[in-house]
Symmetry: C2
Subunit: 339 residues, 2 copies
């Protein structure tokens, strides 16, 4: 079965966007976004997660893997970055507060002007003291809470935008889980003979896999260590892979990136020094000093913890069944848009 996407053209209008603010489509979209966010918060509140206000002007500790998409800010004559993630800021609190979360803008200096990229988007993040299995459980339930709050509160609006409400009702834990290795084998067998273990998955691959496995949210777990963030913990049975999970959703692709985290000091320093990120950082004239405060938190020991980041607009896109992320929020932002 192939799912057809269905974005109302009017929501794709990015030039003079304010001219569509009066339309039923834009109003429906705003209400659906609001309910999705409410569902996420409800999940955190019901499960005793503490909300943390993390900084958005940071050192390289606010970066995701790709240092090159950091926006630079003049910091009183010095330099800092606009954060892409609050992950490390949450992680160091898990030994003390057990379960924490945050929501805020994630900034990417991404020049592409297309249906897949935004320069700023809300990122919902959680971290907790615990292991990989519990992490997948939290993600399944968080996403389900978001979707079910939208269907409960905004059925009329979802239908107005052409969303398939029946499909949304079917989103329930547990989600299907395959390993990265299974994903590669499936792709190799069916559509991509040239793919090799160790290659990153492209968005066309993710689309195929979601469709192949039933057009529902799909976890792809245990990625190769070398293509993932430096502090994802190695799998005990195979140190070439990490205990990571990407949640791939119909229409939007990767909506959640997740992992159990490394917490042993020596291992963290070693993995950071070897990381592609650190190589890129050094090319920018920075050093491991940017991570000093974070590493120090593990010097006297840490504890197993796990967490994830949920790309909010990607969840909205999947819920709506849209083919363009710019149609999935009131104020989409890319290089061609300014307000």
């Amino acid at each position: 079965m192939v799912l057809y996407s269905n974005s109302p053209n009017i929501l794709k209008q990015t030039k003079e966007r304010w001219k569509i603010f009066h339309t039923p489509e834009l109003k429906a979209l705003a209400k659906i976004e609001s309910s999705l966010m409410k569902g996420a918060r409800k999940y955190f509140e019901e499960n005793d997660f503490i909300e943390i206000n993390v900084p958005h002007l940071t050192m390289a500790t606010g970066a995701c893997e790709n240092i090159n998409t950091l926006f630079e800010v003049d910091w009183f004559g010095d330099k800092c970055y606009l954060s892409q993630t609050g992950q490390l800021y949450l992680e160091v609190l898990t030994p003390h507060l057990k379960k924490v979360w945050c929501v805020g803008p994630s900034f990417r200096a991404e020049p592409s002007v297309d249906e897949r990229h935004l320069v700023e988007f809300p990122l919902i993040e959680l971290e907790f003291e615990g292991r990989f299995d519990e992490l997948l459980y939290h993600i399944e339930n968080l996403i389900t809470h978001m979707v079910s709050t939208a269907t409960e509160e905004r059925e009329k609006e979802l239908k107005l935008l052409g969303a398939d409400v029946e499909r949304l009702y079917s989103i329930k834990p547990p989600f299907r889980k395959i390993t990265y290795t299974e994903a590669v084998e499936t792709l190799k067998r069916n559509i991509e003979p040239s793919i090799e273990w160790g290659d990153d998955l492209r968005s066309s691959h993710e689309k195929y896999l979601v469709s192949y496995f039933g057009n529902k949210p799909l976890f792809i777990t245990h990625y190769p260590k070398k293509i993932k963030f430096f502090n994802m913990i190695e799998d005990e049975s195979n140190p070439d892979v990490v205990k990571s999970a990407d949640l791939i959703m119909p229409f939007s692709g990767e909506a959640v990136g997740a992992a159990e985290r490394e917490y042993r000091y020596n291992k963290l320093v070693e993995r950071l020094e070897q990381s592609t990120m650190m190589k890129m950082l050094k090319e920018k004239g920075r050093s491991i000093k940017d991570f000093e405060w974070y590493l120090e938190c593990y010097k006297e020991g840490g504890s197993p913890h796990s967490g994830c980041g949920v790309g909010f607009n990607r969840v909205t896109q999947s819920v709506l069944g849209f083919d363009d992320i710019r149609a999935c929020t009131v104020y989409p932002l890319n290089r061609a848009m300014k307000y």
Copy 2:
């Protein structure tokens, strides 16, 4: 009666802040912050406000009065700013969505390193289609929801930090309201013979007034037009003042800035052109073009609307009774602090 402030010294530690993350004081603070934010959201949800994701990389339309504290960001070779407020982005949605809100970081390139200034803080903002009286009602009830959620959920933590819980129970609508003119007369009569109508109130003035009027949240309304934001609507009975309200809270001072907004196109253009902000903007080589999209939304008519911004850390500071805003959040940020 004079209130004594009571910050535990340990929370004032800003150097190597991560070294206090394990303390009972920091953990209590994080939980109180989380409950205050939850209380705000509960208020918005119960009153059908729609949450909007506003952009944080903006033109001058993301600025508060003081353009000079805007952080500049390199925007693909061009220039943009880190937003200080989402106000205008919410305002233009009020004719269509009626009641909207947002929460996110507000950025100020403020070089002061002291107990009153932060470079980044969470700002809670609401806008709705309606008038001044309703605005004061929303603010009273929003603040009360925040405080009562904290006292209900975190009494133990509040006591640990030395907060006066009895005082917090007494925070209930309606709040006392005085006009700016009454405020100036009170100050002139009692402590500041040289103050003149038209002067801005200093934080020492605000402290005195809060104490004089009973150490409770205090609205000061109807400020002189010339010292306030360009789109605050003039009072019909006296066009030298605007329908504005600052909420002054014990310990922290101004925690909320609020106003009914101008919505008549010609008046908006005239007020904007005459504003201090526009003068400062022109000195930076910018023009009224930054506001084009916003003004266009009113070209074919607007409707009466009102709104406010709540400085989240100022509310926390007042609840805790602290003398230092750096002690009121997990990750305070100023020029001397980086993570």
